[in-house]
């Protein structure tokens, strides 16, 4: 249907682009975030209706059926996914978006002789394919289908170099000849590059990679806007590419890391690899009953939740423990490190889901001055974010990362699965401190037992 003329089409696309800008702006502040997301969805709806009403389209019933299928798949998954699995789902959605962009570009290749358009086609295909394959690897790592440790094999940097050279050559041939065969070769090389790019990244750094791939998909969509001569795709893709790049840098900075260090650190045999060696130095291990006494008779307890809590899905149990302690007159707050959980801000989502009061969540700057007045710091499934090596050991992989200064609390209790070092792979001196006790086991099991013991006090 061509109900809308080119002028109206452009105006509606402009309205959609403005919606996307307002959406990103709104998402940057807690008060307006939900409305921002709704504005973004409205913009997307306007854009989709506009394309149906303006472009000369065949196959409309089939297209509508495909949209229905996509929605029927996405909505139930998005509604039912466990909050702890949110990062995987975001990565998955990002990957399919990149895949869609790559397919759109390859289909448009036959429609233009302009070398600039072909260059945009090659770029979209390559970046979209990298994003698709890279996201698939991040999903595998987050689901622990593949190892969360950096995966490297001999000759990997050489293979990566060969793939990059091959991709540039195939891209050049696509621009020169417009051949679909070379385009498919480029697609395959892009997929391999995506795998090689993400396999060497350690589990704790995966969130940064998701954010980076998100920016990549944005760039692929922007380039597809050039391919199709569609300003909305160009603007929306560029917005996501730019904001995604900034967000990636901000997240990496919160972890005290550089983006290049995360992506290529393992290649240099450096920081992300870490060690899996367990220490045999003596520690003071504790029982759930002892921990319950420490907590139940304290005046002020600060809980530091981490990755291990998210993995064990212990957020509801820890919320119950906080409630039980509060009922005994203990002041309980949660100190949230910026990168606690599986994605920055993830822990806030998990604890919000478990109905922990908003005002009990303290950010790093708020929490640190209060540790000297704290009787017990309870660290659940976290390690690197409380490791004093970040302040005291130049050269440690996490050196320079802001940490929660739990060592200033009266007593320190770690709930840990084992003595294995954190993702950064360095030992935490705090574990051997005389005022530290450790309760080993799965975070959720340990919390359930401590909770039972607190109730029995």
């Amino acid at each position: 249907m061509s109900v809308l003329g080119p002028g109206w089409t452009a105006l509606f696309y402009l309205a959609a682009a403005v919606c996307f800008i307002l959406a990103l702006k709104g998402l940057s502040s807690p008060r307006t975030a939900r409305r921002g997301n709704a504005i973004g969805a409205t913009g997307a709806l306007v854009a989709v209706l506009t394309v149906f009403l303006s472009a000369k389209l065949e196959n409309i019933p089939l297209i509508i059926a495909a949209v229905a299928v996509g929605s029927a798949v996405a909505v139930p998954v998005a509604r039912r996914v466990q909050m702890t699995q949110m990062p995987q789902l975001v990565a998955l959605f990002n990957g399919v978006g990149g895949g869609a962009a790559a397919l759109v570009a390859v289909l448009e290749l036959g429609h233009s002789d302009d070398p600039w358009v072909r260059l945009a086609v090659a770029f979209t295909m390559l970046v979209g394919a990298v994003s698709f394959a890279g996201s698939a690897v991040t999903v595998g790592k987050l689901q622990e289908l593949i190892s969360t440790r950096p995966l490297l094999f001999p000759g990997m940097p050489v293979l990566m170099g060969a793939v990059v050279v091959g991709a540039v050559a195939a891209g050049g041939l696509v621009v020169a000849t417009g051949s679909v065969g070379w385009a498919l070769a480029l697609l395959v090389l892009g997929l391999v590059a995506g795998l090689l790019l993400v396999l060497p990244v350690g589990g704790a750094d995966v969130p940064i990679v998701i954010s980076l791939l998100n920016a990549f998909t944005g760039l692929a969509v922007a380039a597809s806007g050039i391919v199709l001569g569609n300003v909305l795709l160009l603007v929306a893709g560029t917005l996501v590419g730019a904001s995604g790049t900034i967000l990636t840098k901000v997240m990496a900075a919160a972890m005290g890391r550089g983006v290049t260090g995360i992506m290529f650190g393992a290649f240099r045999g450096g920081s992300t690899a870490g060690s899996t060696v367990q220490s045999d130095r003596p520690v003071r291990s504790s029982s759930p009953e002892d921990v319950a006494v420490q907590l139940g008779y304290a005046q002020r307890v600060v809980i530091v939740p981490g990755y291990g809590l998210a993995v064990a899905q212990g957020q509801h149990t820890i919320a119950e423990l906080a409630t039980a302690l509060a009922a005994r007159g203990v002041e309980v707050v949660f100190a949230i490190h910026p990168v606690a959980g599986r994605m920055p801000g993830h822990m806030n989502v998990l604890l919000a889901e478990a109905n922990v009061p908003y005002e009990a969540l303290k950010e790093l700057e708020e929490a640190n001055p209060e540790f000297p007045n704290t009787d017990v710091a309870l660290i659940v499934g976290a390690n690197d974010v409380v490791n004093p090596a970040a302040k005291s050991t130049p050269g440690a992989p996490i050196y320079g990362m802001p940490i929660l200064e739990v060592a200033q609390a009266g007593q320190v209790v770690f709930l840990k699965r084992s003595m294995r070092p954190g993702f950064a792979g360095i030992e935490n001196e705090l574990l051997f401190d005389p005022k530290t006790t450790l309760l080993f086991g799965d975070a959720k099991d340990s919390l359930t037992r401590v909770l039972g013991a607190v109730k029995a006090l």
């Binding site: 399919v96 869609a100 289909l107 909305l232 904001s243 009061p357």
Partner: protein, 106 residues
């Protein structure tokens, strides 16, 4: 193809807007913001619809329809999942408007 200078103008302005709108985001919103930006690039659906609407060969149409399905998953799923995350922040805010307002740091 569009006029290259116009294209460049649009891209440069969009880059600055993209940098500007997210530069001061609090860390507790990083996850929803990433997810929201992720939903926005699902707008590739518009491109997929155009390509599917022009496909005449059955094979090309099949590939284009796959692209439509994938793009819809990205777009629709992205907005729904972002809303679910934010729902939990939002409900808290209406219950305790004053405590929330103090800590937003905006």
């Amino acid at each position: 193809m569009m006029d290259p200078i116009t294209l460049l103008t649009v891209v440069v302005l969009a880059v600055f807007v993209g940098f500007e709108v997210v530069s001061k985001v609090t860390s507790k919103l990083h996850t929803p913001l990433m997810s929201g930006a992720n939903a926005i690039h699902g707008i590739i659906l518009v491109g997929a619809i155009i390509v599917a609407g022009q496909a005449s060969d059955p094979w090309l149409l099949t590939v284009a329809l796959i692209a439509v399905v994938l793009a819809t998953v990205n777009l629709v799923g992205g907005f729904v999942v972002t809303d679910r995350m934010l729902e939990m922040f939002g409900s808290r805010k209406t219950n305790r408007p004053r405590a929330g307002a103090g800590k937003d740091g905006t």
